[in-house]
């Protein structure tokens, strides 16, 4: 078989992408902010949760991938076929709200990078918005995907930062493998935010549609699975390093932060300007990827439910609605971010809350679809997978209820 190793490599490359891109995009502006806060306020003590998150992320994304590859349809397509037009539209409207507030948070992330360098927002943000939109509309599927993958690699900056920070290794190992769950309000609230930022509604829609659009077939399920595993591990590896770099510096000094950009500012005096720049550029990269992927995921979902044509690879003329939705998300968010007095923190919390309410519903629907023997044949879940999936849903639902309770009472 060794003779064919390079052929197998090429086959693997031909399915690589969706899982890694979706996972990495989970580390968008809101994600980076959450990780920084986790590290700065709780040190290494929440690292063990990341291992659980990696498993949950793999299980949920793999189900999305399998649904897409086996049926050749996106999640929204299947929801409409299963639940009918009315329910599908109601669900998608909620998804749209959750996604829109996510895009808003990412555009705000771009704006905060402008602030840290003292550049005027009113010029900096629109330039990037126009650039992003132009690339998505004009670029071919391959170009868009290669830009995404490059962006995924740029997350290395955070890993370098983790090494710069010289973490306390014994404490790090203990934090990674010894569960620690004090019953204090702030710890639990932050822990739920940590889970809520990685498992996302838009991620489920995006990963499935992207695999379909890529035309991956059942023959390549194994490779697609590898892609999803890589994606989950890479996502949480980046998260891990963001947490330890903040834990080794800000937590030790007792610095309190509100956002990712606070973290970058605070890192400057402690680790030098290089670390600050890495953090800031990392945030810019994360925000841009987030804007692209989430607005595309939204466009996939809406056009699938309405039953119009959609594809990254079709021209504007062939899929006007697809590109209109992307444009709407990007430009309305740009406008809103540039308004003075926008309560960005409130929007961030609201989008997280919305995400945690909708996600369990989506998971239940996915499980119903994936265990449909008529549709999936022998690609239905194994009982082990079902058990893990149900466990994930139950955990997630309990967590979101706690989170909602803590947010409002």
């Amino acid at each position: 078989m060794l003779r064919y190793w390079w052929i197998r490599g090429i086959i693997f490359l031909s399915v690589i992408g969706p899982g890694i891109i979706t996972g990495t995009a989970d580390n968008d502006a809101g994600g980076v902010a959450t990780y920084s806060i986790v590290g700065a306020h709780f040190g290494y003590r929440m690292l063990w949760i990341l291992i659980l998150i990696t498993i949950m992320l793999y299980v949920t994304q793999e189900m999305g991938m399998r649904l897409g590859v086996v049926t050749g349809k996106g999640l929204a397509d299947l929801i409409r076929e299963k639940l009918g037009l009315k329910s599908a539209l109601i669900l998608i409207s909620l998804v749209f709200l959750a996604n829109f507030s996510n895009v808003l948070a990412d555009v705000a992330g771009i704006a905060s990078v402008a602030d840290i360098y003292g550049l005027p927002r009113y010029i900096f943000v629109p330039i990037f918005s126009v650039l992003i939109y132009y690339i998505i509309v004009k670029g071919s599927f391959n170009l868009v995907q290669n830009i995404f993958l490059t962006s995924c690699i740029l997350f290395f900056g955070y890993i370098i930062n983790g090494f710069l920070a010289r973490p306390d290794i014994p404490a790090m190992v203990r934090g990674s493998f010894v569960p620690y769950l004090p019953l204090n309000r702030e710890y639990i609230f932050t822990a739920t935010a940590l889970i809520g930022t990685t498992l996302t509604v838009w991620g489920q829609f995006f990963v499935q549609s992207y695999f379909v659009d890529k035309g991956v077939t059942k023959k390549h399920l194994k490779n697609a699975r590898l892609d999803v595993i890589f994606g989950a591990i890479w996502t949480d590896l980046v998260a891990y390093f963001i947490i330890i770099s903040c834990a080794a510096t800000l937590y030790v000094k007792g610095v309190r932060i509100e956002s990712a950009i606070d973290a970058a500012r605070a890192l400057g005096p402690l680790l030098g300007d290089f670390a600050k720049h890495l953090f800031a550029w990392g945030l810019l990269n994360a925000s841009i990827l987030g804007v692209c992927v989430i607005s595309m995921g939204t466009a996939y979902a809406i056009t699938e439910v309405l039953g119009t044509e959609r594809k990254v690879n079709s021209s504007y003329r062939d899929a006007p609605l697809f590109y209109l939705i992307i444009g709407f998300c990007i430009f309305v968010c740009t406008f809103l971010v540039l308004l003075p007095q926008l309560p960005i923190m409130f929007i961030l919390v609201a989008s997280q809350a919305l995400n945690t309410i909708i996600l369990p519903i989506i998971f239940v629907v996915i499980l119903r679809l994936i265990n449909d023997k008529k549709m999936m044949g022998n690609h239905v879940n194994s009982s082990l997978f079902n058990a893990i999936a149900w466990l994930t849903i139950v955990c997630f639902t309990v967590i979101s209820l706690i989170m909602l309770y803590l947010t409002f009472f």
């Binding site: 349809k73 076929e81 037009l85 009315k86 659009d213 039953g307 044509e309």
Partner: protein, 418 residues
């Protein structure tokens, strides 16, 4: 049996079913159709009786289908209700919200609603509603939106596709075995196929006549063609490849997995397989990879009359006969003869006297781009490929380079990354 004008399926769902004296029997849940004709007949209604049971009310029992209620012929006690059977096709459950193939627009589209109408004595399914109006109707907003648009003196256009122009797919099988797809232009067939899921691609492709399938296969992007060929059964694949010109068949086989390609080549006619193997030696993006070995050569000493006679004999099987290639006894290309020259010349002339001797040739290593440039520079329909000794190896025809200049539509549709 009376149908109150034309109706949409969604308008029927949920309305009460009453008997002759307005006694309530139940509610309509779905509509059952009988397949087999291009406009399928409505065979009955699935109703939920007031006792809460699901029963079938056959069309013969129905007196009137109206906008507000359905009424039966006989009084309530005498209405015969059938039980549900497996394998019935129901409009709301099986067709609405699913995808169908619109044969006119050559696209795959989702059904928002279905139109029913009375034809002679039957109620039939006549069209699929794929427009905004159908969607609004399903959401119960049709009236409101129409009122708003009427204020601006505009109307939302209905977009209906006649059911005779529809191919309904279900779970990788073609639900209505019809000939319609085969009647389309191969380019349209390719466009439809490129929008479907793998199983459906295979199903549609297997249902096509070999000739149509062969032409559609050429229109598809090579990688997609290869996937389809590896999924259909070997017998069908051979039939389709048999109908393809050698160069197109070679393109497809070149993209297949090694074992599959070998298997097909072994089972093909020996002569054709040999030609394909010969072509597979050349690199994909060169004139050698584009050329076909199916061309017509004539010795120099033939007369015009004899040439025409020979052409009549062999031409039906040949791909290109715009140009005839004149060779000497060592098979060196001596000249080219256009069909026009041949026809307007006196019958007793030798073809060596009327052939063109300053002609353009390609080498097998020539890149696709250069090849295409030569075609556009000299406005040619076919150009011969020759080796160092000027022996003719094959010809490249305009349809092979057109794809290089303008990618085929189906290729742009869904790109695989390889």
């Amino acid at each position: 049996m009376v149908l109150f004008s034309e109706m949409f399926a969604s308008e029927l769902i949920g309305i009460p079913v009453v008997d002759r004296v307005q006694e309530n029997i139940g509610k309509v849940k779905d509509i059952i159709i009988a397949l087999g004709e291009s406009f399928p007949k409505v065979a009955g209604l699935l109703i939920i009786t007031i006792e809460g049971a699901e029963k079938v009310l056959l069309i013969g029992e129905i007196d009137l289908i109206g906008r507000r209620f359905v009424s039966t012929r006989s009084p309530r006690e005498q209405v015969a209700l059938a039980t549900r059977r497996e394998g019935e096709v129901m409009l709301m459950r099986d067709i609405v919200d699913k995808q169908i193939v619109d044969l006119e627009g050559a696209r795959v589209i989702r059904v928002n609603d279905l139109k029913l109408a009375k034809m002679n004595q039957d109620v039939r399914l006549i069209a699929a509603d794929v427009g905004t109006l159908g969607m609004l109707r399903r959401l119960g907003l049709e009236g409101a939106v129409n009122w708003v648009t009427s204020v601006f003196h505009r109307r939302i256009q209905e977009s209906l596709i006649g059911w005779d122009h529809v191919q309904w797919l279900t779970g990788g099988k073609i639900a209505i075995p019809s000939k319609t797809i085969s009647d389309l232009h191969p380019a349209d067939v390719a466009q439809i196929i490129s929008q479907l899921h793998v199983d459906e691609k295979t199903a549609i492709f297997s249902s096509l006549a070999d000739k149509t399938a062969a032409e559609a296969l050429h229109e598809l992007e090579p990688m997609l063609g290869a996937i389809i060929v590896s999924n259909i059964d070997t017998k069908k694949a051979l039939g389709v490849l048999e109908k393809m010109p050698v160069d197109e068949a070679a393109d497809i086989i070149g993209d297949l997995a090694q074992e599959k390609a070998e298997e097909l080549l072994r089972l093909m006619r020996v002569g054709k397989a040999g030609k394909i193997r010969e072509l597979l030696k050349h690199h994909d993006q060169t004139a050698g990879g584009l050329m076909t070995t199916e061309f017509i050569t004539f010795p120099q000493d033939m007369t015009v009359e004899a040439t025409i006679a020979k052409l009549r004999e062999i031409a039906p099987g040949a791909e290109t006969i715009y140009y005839l290639y004149v060779v000497d006894d060592q098979h060196h290309l001596a000249g080219i003869l256009s069909l026009r020259n041949l026809i307007v010349s006196p019958p007793d002339r030798l073809i060596s006297d009327i052939m063109i001797t300053d002609f353009v040739t390609l080498t097998p290593e020539m890149k696709e781009k250069e090849t295409a440039e030569i075609f556009s520079k000299y406005n040619l329909l076919a150009v011969p490929v020759v080796d160092e000794e000027k022996k003719i190896l094959g010809i490249v025809t305009i349809d092979d380079v057109v794809d290089y200049i303008l990618p085929p539509v189906a290729r742009r549709k869904r790109q695989r990354i390889g």
